[in-house]
Every structure is written in C-alpha cells, then in structure tokens.
C-alpha cells in the first residue's frame, strides 16, 4: 500500500511517499495513524496530534473511522489552506 504525505506532514516524516505492508490488525485510518507513530521519532512528531491530520483514500476525503481495505493510495496531510 502506498502512503503519500503533504505539507508539514511530509516535511516532518521526511518523505514524499513510501510503500508499506500493513500488519493485519491495522484496519482503519485511526489504526494506521497509531501504527505509523510507532515507526520512529519523525512519525511521532508528524502525527502527534492525530485529530488534525486529514486523510484521503484513493484521492477522496475520508474520516478516521474509514476502513482501509481495498485502498491503493492513502494520503496524510494537514488541514488545507488553498483558495
């Protein structure tokens, strides 16, 4: 599964994107955010306030309860500031 990061989430994690194999127990967006925080200090720093992290699965906004199954690309980013 591909993870893709934007703005300060990208900067703090230090990667634009990465491909990961998720453990079987990671079933929802919330699970994914918790699991990523165990992967090191940079992830912990990027995701320390999971409530503010916005998530898109296959380029559609989803909330943190969304299930991951079938997802190809999951994007994590801060609240948007376009317009």
């Amino acid at each position: 599964m591909r993870l893709i990061y934007f703005a300060w989430v990208r900067e703090r994690i230090g990667k634009t994107q990465e491909d990961v194999d998720l453990p079987a127990e990671v079933k929802t967006v919330a699970d994914l955010l918790s699991w990523l925080r165990t992967r090191g200090e940079q992830y912990e720093h990027a995701l320390q306030h999971p409530d503010v992290i916005r998530v898109a699965i296959d380029q559609e906004h989803v909330d943190h309860r969304e299930r991951l199954e079938g997802a190809r690309e999951i994007a994590l980013f801060p609240p948007m500031t376009g317009g």
Binding site: H61, F77, P79, M80, T81, G82, G83
Partner: protein, 155 residues
C-alpha cells in the same frame, strides 16, 4: 439545453480573467450575470516575499470538479470556471479564479461564494510562507472561520 460542463484547471502559470469570462459568455444572449472571484497573494504588510502552494496532483482537480458539480446541482448556472494555481507565487500575483454565469444575479453570487468556501475546505492545497529575506517560513494555518464558512452551505 446541453448540460453545463465546468472548466476546471490546476496549473502553475497565471490565468487571464478577462479571457475566461469571455469564454463563458461569448456568443450567448441568455446570460444576465457573471460573478467572478479573484484571489491574490498578499505580502502581509511587507512580511512576505512569496507563497509556495503545494497541491495533491489529481485529487486537487478531482475535488474542485466535485465542488463545481455540486454548485451546478444547486444553482441554475449557464457556465462555471475554476482555476487554481500552484507553485511559487509572489505578492500581487493571482492565485485562484472562480467565475459563475447565470440568468439571475443571486444564483451567480451564491454559487461563487459557495465555491470559494468549499475550495478552502476541500481542495488539497497548502500554502507555505517565504519571508522577505528569502528564507522559508511557516505553513499557513487553516482558519476556524473558513471551516465555519463552509458549514453555512450544509443543508
């Protein structure tokens, strides 16, 4: 009447507001009102030398299209254009254009207002500030008031 196809573009380069309005109205005699919103880069009282707009390619176009089709479903529009730039943008330059054409002025106003509120809350763009010394500054923080503005349109 043929269904309205919104014009949606996400691009690094500038756009031509007059040309876009002309494209919406050329040869037509059924449009009574065109409302445009032009968003520009400010220098925040001389503090900034530029904004860098990051975006999520593909999703940015997708979300803007979704919002455009929602506007078409809610208001009787005869044409609709949304253009959003990304990349480095200097103060005084254009960032975003929304143009809505309708027979009636209220529809054109409301649809443009709605589109801007929804773009702010749904289109995946992020602004980073660059100071006048050329150094990278902070990411612009999302404002609670923008979130509330978008909620006005929920029904």
């Amino acid at each position: 009447m043929a269904p309205v196809v919104p014009v949606v573009r996400v691009q690094p380069g500038d756009f031509d507001m007059a040309g876009e309005v002309e494209a919406l109205t050329a040869g037509r005699t059924d449009i009574g009102a065109v409302v445009t919103f032009l968003g520009m880069c400010r220098d925040e009282e001389g503090r900034l030398s530029a904004l860098e707009l990051e975006h999520y390619p593909g999703m940015a176009e997708g979300e803007i299209s979704r919002v455009a089709h929602e506007a078409l479903a809610r208001w009787p529009l005869q044409g609709l254009t949304v253009i959003h730039r990304y990349g480095r943008i200097a103060p005084g330059e254009n960032i975003v254009l929304v143009a809505c054409a309708s027979t009636h002025r209220r529809a054109a106003f409301e649809a443009a207002d709605f589109l801007m509120d929804y773009l702010k809350s749904r289109a995946p763009f992020w602004k980073k500030e660059f100071g006048v010394d050329g150094r990278e500054g902070e990411w612009v923080e999302a404002r609670e008031s923008d979130e509330r503005a978008a909620e006005r349109w929920q029904r």
